[in-house]
Amino acid sequence: MEQFLQVLLSGLATGSIYALAAIGFTLVWQAAQTVNFAQGEFVMVPAFFVLVAMNMGMPFWLAMIIAMLVSVFLLGYLFKRAIVEPMQRQGHGNSLSLIIVTMALAILLKESVKEFYGAEAQPYPALMSSETWNIGGAIISVTDVLHLVISLGVVLLLTLFLDRTRTGRAMQATAQNPGVAEILGVDTNRMILYTFLINAALASLASFLITPVYLAKFSNGEYLGLIAFIAAIVGGFNQIRGALAGGLLIGVLDNMVATYLTAEYRAAIPLLLLIVVILFKPEGLLGTSEGRSV
C-alpha cells in the first residue's frame, strides 16, 4: 500500500508538469489552429534564461522574473509577430507549413542553447526546499505538492479567466469563429496575441518546476514535448481541463506500469494510450468533437 501511494503521488507530481506543457498545445491550437512542435523547447529555454541571469549575479527569484518576462517576449510576442503572423498573412497559417516552421524553430532553439550553454546538463536550483512529508508511509516532497497545486491552480484560474472575464470570452469567441468575433467588435488579433503570451508564461512556469528534476539540458524539450503532445491528444486537444487530465493520466500510468508491470517497456505506454484514444475516442477523454470544412 505504501508503495502504491508513493508511486501514485510521484506520478501525479510528474504528470502535473506534463499537463502544464500540454495546456500550451491546446492554447496555441485554439488561437492559431496549429500544433506548436517547439512547445517542448519553449519549456526548456526559460530555465537557461534563469541560469544566465543568475550568472550575471541576480538572485534566483529575480532571475526567474526576468526569465519569465524575456520568455513571454521572445516565445510569446516575437513568436506570434515574427513567425505566425507572416505565415498567416501569406495564407500558410492553417496549413502544414506553420507546423513545419515550428519544427524548425524547435531545432533552432535546441541547437542555440547547445552552442551558447554547452551540451552538458547543468544543476538548477529547486523552487522549494527539499523538505519531505510522510503520508501513509509514502514520502512526498514539498516540491511535488507544489507541482500539483500549481497545475491545478493554473487550470482553475485559466478556466475562470476564459469563462468569467470579458477578455476571456472574447478569446473564446476568437478561437471558435474569428470572422464572427471580428464582426462583433472583438480585436481578434489582440486576443490571439494574449493566447500566445499566456502560453509562453505557462511554459516558463513549467520550466521552473521541471528543471530541478530534469536538470537544465538543451535536449529536455524532445521528450517533454512529445509527452505533452500525447497528453493533450489523450485529454482532448481543444480543452484545457483535458490537457490536465491527459498529463496526470500519463504521469500516473507511466509510474504504475514501471512498478507493477514492466520497467523495460514503460516508454511505450504513452504511445499505446495514444493509439487506443485515437481509435476509440479521437476527440480525447474530455475533448469535444469539432467539424471543419475541407
Binding site: V7, T132, L215, R266
Partner: protein, 380 residues
C-alpha cells in the same frame, strides 16, 4: 669536370636528396576524435574530448610523437551509434592514423568494425565487456572493461556490507547490459540473491517507481549502473524517498559531474573507480590540476580516459619506432608500461592481446560533496 659542373651536380644531388626525404616526415599525425559531444552522452564525450585535447596539447608542446605534431579533428556522434559509424569512416577517409573514442559502448560496438576493416587502431573509452571479446585486434581500452571492474565490487558487497540480497538499477543499453550481466553472475557466484532487477532507458528522468521498488525489495544494498545524468537523477530521487540501503556503483556513481548535479543527494554513494583525479597519487593529482587550469572545472573519469587515450597513442607509436598502424597494434598487444617511464598513463598499465587494460583501481565514497578514496584494489 669544371667548377660549374661540380656545383651543378652538387645542387642537383642536394635537390634529389631533399626530394628523397619522405614528404610526410614533418606532416602532422592526423587523429579522429569521434566522441559524444551532444545527445545523452554529451557529459561523458565532452569530458573525454577535453582530456584527450589536453594531452594532445602537452604532447605537441613537448615535441610531438616521433617529432611529428598531433592534428586532432573532432567529430560529434550526437550519441547515435549509426552516426558514430559514419563518422569513424569519415575520419578514416580524411587520413586518420588512429581513432580516439567513442565513449558509449552502444556506439563503439557498432563503429569499431569500420576501423577494423580499414586497419585503423582505435582507442576507446567504452567499458562494455563484449568490446574486447570480438577478436578485433585494432581496439584498445583506455580503462578496463566492466568484466574487470564489477567483480572488484563483489568483496565489497559480501564482506564490507555483508549483503545477502541486492537490488540492481541499470541503464538498458550496451554499457548497462554489460555491467548488469557481469554483476548478476558475480552475485550468483558469491551466493547473494538479486531481490530487484530494474532497467531504465538512457536519458530517463523519472526514477520514482524504480526507487520505490528498490525500497520495498528487501535488498540490503543497491548496485547502481547508470550514466552520469541518470545517476544524478536516481540519487536525488533516492534521497527524496529516504532509501535506507547503501548505494554502490561502478565508476559513474561518484563522478564529479554526478556530485555537481545531485548535490547533497550524492553524499554516501560509493563506487569502484578505475580512474579518478582524487587518487592519492602525484600523477593523478598533477593531471587534475592541469585539467582544472585548462577548463576551469574538475576532471572526471572520462576526462582521464581521454587523456590516457592520447598518451597510449604516443607511447605505443614511439615503442613501435615509427608511425605505422600495424606496428602500433603489434606493439600494444602485451605491452606493460610503468608510470615512471610513461607518466601520461598515470599508473602502471598493461594491455593484453585483446586490447583489454589492467591497472590498479580505487573504492571511492562521496563525503560532504567530495570524492574520497577509501580503498585501493590491485590490478586484476
Amino acid at each position: 669536370m669544371n667548377r660549374r659542373t661540380i656545383i651543378g651536380l652538387a645542387a642537383s644531388a642536394m635537390m634529389l636528396g631533399t626530394s628523397c626525404i619522405p614528404s610526410f616526415a614533418e606532416d602532422p599525425i592526423k587523429i579522429g576524435a569521434v566522441v559524444e559531444l551532444s545527445g545523452g552522452g554529451a557529459v561523458a564525450g565532452t569530458n573525454y574530448r577535453d582530456g584527450a585535447m589536453l594531452a594532445a596539447k602537452e604532447i605537441n608542446a613537448s615535441g610531438g610523437v616521433l617529432g611529428r605534431q598531433l592534428e586532432v579533428t573532432q567529430y560529434d556522434t550526437a550519441t547515435d551509434p549509426q552516426t558514430s559509424r559514419a563518422l569513424v569512416q569519415k575520419a578514416i577517409d580524411e587520413g586518420a592514423y588512429a581513432i580516439w573514442g567513442t565513449v558509449y559502448s552502444s556506439s563503439t560496438i557498432v563503429n569499431m568494425m569500420v576501423a577494423q576493416q580499414a586497419g585503423v587502431p582505435q582507442i576507446t573509452g567504452s567499458e562494455a565487456p563484449n568490446i574486447t571479446a570480438q577478436g578485433n585486434p585494432y581496439i584498445f581500452r583506455s580503462s578496463y572493461g566492466a568484466q574487470k571492474g564489477v567483480p572488484a565490487l563483489t568483496a565489497y558487497f559480501k564482506d564490507t556490507l555483508g549483503a545477502k540480497k541486492v537490488a540492481v538499477a541499470w541503464v538498458n543499453n550496451e554499457f548497462g547490459k554489460g555491467g548488469h550481466d557481469v554483476f548478476i553472475e558475480e552475485m550468483k557466484k558469491a551466493g547473494i540473491e538479486v531481490a530487484a532487477d530494474i532497467p531504465s532507458e538512457a536519458g530517463a528522468a523519472d526514477f520514482a517507481s524504480d526507487v520505490a521498488r528498490i525500497k520495498d525489495s528487501g535488498a540490503d544494498a543497491v548496485f547502481v549502473y547508470l550514466h552520469e545524468e541518470e545517476s544524478a537523477r536516481f540519487l536525488r530521487e533516492a534521497h527524496k524517498q529516504a532509501i535506507p540501503q547503501p548505494l554502490v556503483g561502478e565508476v559513474t556513481l561518484t563522478g564529479q559531474k554526478v556530485i555537481e548535479l545531485a548535490g547533497e543527494a550524492a553524499n554516501g554513494a560509493v563506487a569502484h573507480v578505475g580512474l579518478t583525479a582524487d587518487a592519492p597519487l602525484e600523477t593523478f593529482q598533477n593531471f587534475g590540476k592541469a585539467f582544472e587550469a585548462e577548463y576551469g572545472r574538475t576532471a572526471d573519469h572520462n576526462a582521464i580516459k581521454g587523456y590516457v587515450s592520447a598518451y597510449m597513442l604516443k607511447y605505443g607509436t614511439e615503442k613501435a619506432g615509427e608511425v605505422d598502424r600495424e606496428k602500433f597494434i603489434n606493439t600494444m598487444h602485451g605491452l606493460c608500461l610503468t608510470a615512471e617511464e610513461a607518466p601520461g598513463l598515470l599508473l602502471d598499465t598493461c594491455w593484453d592481446d585483446a586490447g583489454e587494460m589492467s591497472r590498479a583501481s580505487f573504492i571511492m565514497e562521496v563525503k560532504d560533496g567530495k570524492q574520497v578514496v577509501t580503498g585501493t584494489v590491485p590490478a586484476n
